[in-house]
């Protein structure tokens, strides 16, 4: 006979295997968060999350709640980030988050499934290659503009111990462009070129594991780990043709191979605690270690080859002997510790309604160094404070055998101005100052079946 614990062990092993078979990658959750209540609490929910946010913060929480949860939310954040007082054109980050959390029980074996999806409303995915001489806000320019899809399972072998595992999917790209034919230098109308384009958006995955320990009715602990995400883009372009002048043809071979990391999110380990020190008050704290120091270079590796035999052409063309590509430049980033604090207060409660007020704070020290050299990855520390509320409507039977949860928040983030002073006095970009603010809001509707 197969025991529930052995079943869970197999599931855990399989999930880890699936997760580790691909490289891990970046998510909008790291920038925006997942779940309105969780964002409102500064993300300090690792110890006791039980809603759709479990798919991101701690998969163990999937099996914590009383029943099926369906959630729909909309979150948005506008950036007013500046460099030297000029707007940096950082795009609004926003999207719809859908989630399902389904705790189940077969006999004495309690387990659960979770699915979380974040769909950006601007575009499904955005990738911009790095122009190293053009400063950009690296953590906010393209990273949040990705689809987030996370699937998780969790089980509860004993009443106070919850364990969850999951994988999150992202999509790198592999693009190929092939051009062949003849290019006539002086008779454009005679030029005949054919091209073929091929693009693959493949799948890559990263794992996450978490546990929650319910020490007492008023005290929980949580640990979660997310693997690193390394989203690579590869572009290969080849030209195999002829340069034509009159009746003379000069064979031309050109190839460009660009291999870049478009997004990287480090592995993260979070410790959390949540407590109810007094009735109606919940306080939680998280501390996340982020392994930024392993960040690979965002400068693409480029190999460019040009071969052309001009000896037969009756014209003088100045072709460089060598076309230099680019080489990766070390990022020199540092690991960070991110503290998060969340406070939730039951402001009003009767048999049919519960109103909660929430406050959250996060401090994210920047992992990026002062940009003294050739790269220009702009970033600053970020202080984020969130204020919001939730309303639970629970007297809804027989229409709904459970309750309806409405949540909303407003968020303000302050990024102190940081001076980037170049080592070289004649750096092509020069010194600059970067800082700004962000404003966010979100609202959600959750149906909870008990």
């Amino acid at each position: 006979m197969v025991t529930p614990v052995r079943l869970a062990s197999v599931a855990l092993a399989l999930s880890l295997l699936l997760g580790l078979s691909g490289q891990a990658h970046a998510t909008p959750g790291d920038t925006l968060g997942i779940g309105t209540r969780n964002i409102n609490l500064g993300g300090a929910v690792t110890a006791d999350v039980e809603d759709v946010g479990g798919n991101y913060y701690n998969p163990a929480g999937i099996v914590r709640g009383p029943g099926l949860r369906l959630s729909l939310s909309y979150v948005s954040m506008n950036s007013a980030l500046e460099i030297n007082g000029n707007d940096s054109n950082v795009e609004r980050m926003s999207g719809i988050t859908l989630g399902i959390v389904a705790p189940l029980q077969i006999g004495s074996f309690r387990f659960g499934f979770g699915l979380g999806v974040h769909l950006p409303d601007q575009r499904l995915s955005r990738t911009r290659s790095t122009i190293q001489s053009r400063p950009r806000w690296e953590r906010y320019d393209t990273r949040p503009h990705k689809v987030f899809l996370s699937t998780n399972i969790a089980f509860r072998p004993i009443d106070w111990l919850l364990i969850g595992v999951g994988i999150t999917f992202q999509s790198p790209s592999d693009l190929q462009l092939v051009i062949d034919g003849d290019a006539d230098l002086f008779r454009v109308s005679s030029t005949r070129l054919r091209h073929q384009f091929e693009g693959d958006l493949t799948s890559t995955r990263y794992p996450q594991v978490g546990t929650q320990i319910i020490a007492s009715e008023n005290l929980s602990f949580g640990i979660s780990w997310r693997g690193a995400l390394n989203l690579r883009n590869r572009l290969a372009a080849t030209v195999d043709g002829n340069v034509v002048v009159g009746s003379v043809r000069a064979p031309l071979d050109f190839s460009l191979i660009s291999d870049s990391v478009s997004t990287y999110m480090p592995q993260q380990l979070t410790l959390g605690v949540a407590a109810h020190p007094v009735e109606r008050l919940r306080v939680s704290m998280d501390l996340t270690w982020m392994d930024w120091s392993k960040h690979p270079s965002l400068i693409p590796t480029e190999e460019i080859t040009l071969m052309i035999d001009l000896s037969q052409l009756p014209v003088m063309l100045d072709i460089p002997e060598e076309i230099g590509g680019r080489s990766p430049i070390p990022m020199n980033m540092r690991d960070t510790l991110v503290p998060r604090v969340g406070i939730e207060f039951d402001a009003f409660q009767n048999d049919s309604i519960l109103v909660q007020a929430r406050l959250g704070y996060v401090y994210e020290g920047t992992p990026f160094p002062i940009q003294r050299g050739a790269t220009n990855f702009v970033d600053s520390d970020r202080h984020t404070i969130s204020l919001g509320a939730g309303v639970r409507l629970s007297d809804l039977r027989p229409t709904l055998p459970g309750y309806l949860q409405l949540d909303a928040y407003f968020q303000y983030a302050y990024l102190p101005t940081r001076n980037h002073q170049k080592d070289s006095l004649v750096d092509p970009v020069g010194d600059y100052r970067a800082g700004g603010q962000q404003f966010g809001f979100g609202a959600s509707l959750e149906v909870v079946f008990e």
């Binding site: 460099i83 030297n84 007082g85 000029n86 707007d87 940096s88 054109n89 950082v90 795009e91 609004r92 409303d121 601007q122 575009r123 911009r128 122009i131 001489s133 053009r134 400063p135 950009r136 220009n376 001076n419 980037h420 002073q421 170049k422 070289s424 006095l425 004649v426 750096d427 092509p428 970009v429 020069g430 010194d431 600059y432 100052r433």
Partner: protein, 376 residues
């Protein structure tokens, strides 16, 4: 209360909410897929490369000054005015000094140079203006040329110039005021014992309360300092070497760049970056060793220094063109947005040298196309 005060709100409440929802949907949908442009490039170091302004961006088809049949020998800004040296061609035209490089101006083909000031600027183009300084002192040798104007914080202006005996100075209480010499006006005399030739093309900047004067001798650039900007003392730019030495201009960083035989005609500017760092920038005419025949190619290089003596050279030329740009001058323009570089090029042949003043800007994206005329 609100509905009592504004009954239309009660009547149209449903319509109002419907309109609100529809507006929200429209606003939301209109933003879908909207592309956000890349942030603008940043250039706060002033090293360029500068972009020569187009014919439609300027009053005189890319030129700052159009003097016709006159010789032009360097220009400089102060406030809104342009100071320059010019002289008519001698008729009949004397034979050109064949020992001079192809793009070098031959003073023997012109009347004595004088210094002019133009106060009228329109779309980067200046009127000819008026004479503001002529040779009057014995040491000047009958001409004054290559002015460099420095506006001080109190609004007064100092014009440093080259003459036969060295570098001179004339001052005015304001940019448009009358220039007068203090004494004989000699600020730094030639020291032909150490220099290859007479001093030319002065440029002065004030760094940390000290006046730094740069001037060339036809091959190298020398530096002199002063506490008052009136009289200068030559500075040894290389303590390690014996004697008094000129500035050491770093070689081009790229190995495939031609060798340089002379660094002349400096323009100086003290600038403070957005982070508060103050540097002294030099823009220098670099005369390259001809690779073939009589080709006399020149570029303008940008350099920067913390102490005014040790300079770092930008990798790319600030200006490089087939018409061999030379005699640069610089001014802050649209603070924080663009800097403007003017330089002299040969436009109407080399015998005699009739040259023009070109205008270029950094960053190159700065656009000065006039706004289109509104449709009637």
């Amino acid at each position: 209360m609100t509905h009592q005060a504004f009954p239309f709100l009660r009547r149209s409440g449903r319509s109002f909410r419907l309109a609100l929802v529809l507006t929200s949907l429209l606003v939301g949908c209109s933003a879908l897929g909207k592309e956000t442009p890349f942030p603008d490039p940043i250039s706060t170091s002033g090293v360029g490369p500068f972009r020569r302004l187009g014919t439609t961006e300027t009053r005189f088809r890319g030129l700052a000054l159009d003097l016709g049949q006159q010789g032009l020998d360097r220009a400089s800004w102060a406030g809104g005015s342009l100071f320059y040296a010019a002289a008519p061609v001698i008729a009949p035209l004397p034979a050109r000094d064949t020992t001079l490089p192809a793009r070098e101006l031959d003073p023997g083909q012109f009347d004595p140079f004088r210094i002019f000031r133009s106060d009228t600027e329109e779309r980067f183009g200046f009127d000819p203006g008026v004479v503001v300084l002529e040779a009057s002192e014995a040491w000047e040798g009958g001409f004054v040329t290559q002015p460099f104007a420095l506006e001080l914080e109190d609004g007064s202006v100092r014009v440093y110039y080259a003459a036969a005996g060295g570098i001179g100075l004339a001052s005015a209480p304001s940019v448009t005021g009358t220039l007068t010499r203090s004494g004989d006006g000699l600020a730094l005399a030639n020291d032909l014992g150490v220099m290859a030739g007479p001093l030319r093309s002065p440029a002065v900047a004030v760094l940390d309360g000290t006046y730094y004067l740069y001037a060339d001798d036809g091959t190298d650039i020398w530096v002199a300092t002063s506490v008052d900007g009136l009289t200068f003392t030559l500075l040894d730019a290389d303590d390690a070497a014996g004697g008094v030495n000129p500035l050491s201009i770093p070689d081009p960083i790229d190995d495939d760049e031609p060798l340089e035989r002379a660094h002349v005609s400096p323009a100086a500017l003290v600038a403070t970056s957005p982070t508060g760092r103050t540097t002294l920038r030099l823009y220098v005419e670099c005369q390259q060793v001809p690779e073939t025949g009589n080709e006399d190619q020149r570029i303008i290089a940008a350099l920067a220094s913390i102490d005014g003596v040790t300079f770092e050279r930008a990798r790319l030329p600030a200006q490089e063109a087939r018409d061999a740009p030379g005699q640069p001058t610089i001014r802050r323009f649209h603070e924080g947005v663009a800097e403007q570089l003017m330089y002299v090029t040969v436009t109407r042949g080399t015998d005699p040298q009739l040259r023009a003043l070109q205008v270029a800007v950094d960053p190159a994206r700065a656009n000065f196309e006039p706004a289109p005329e509104p449709m009637p």
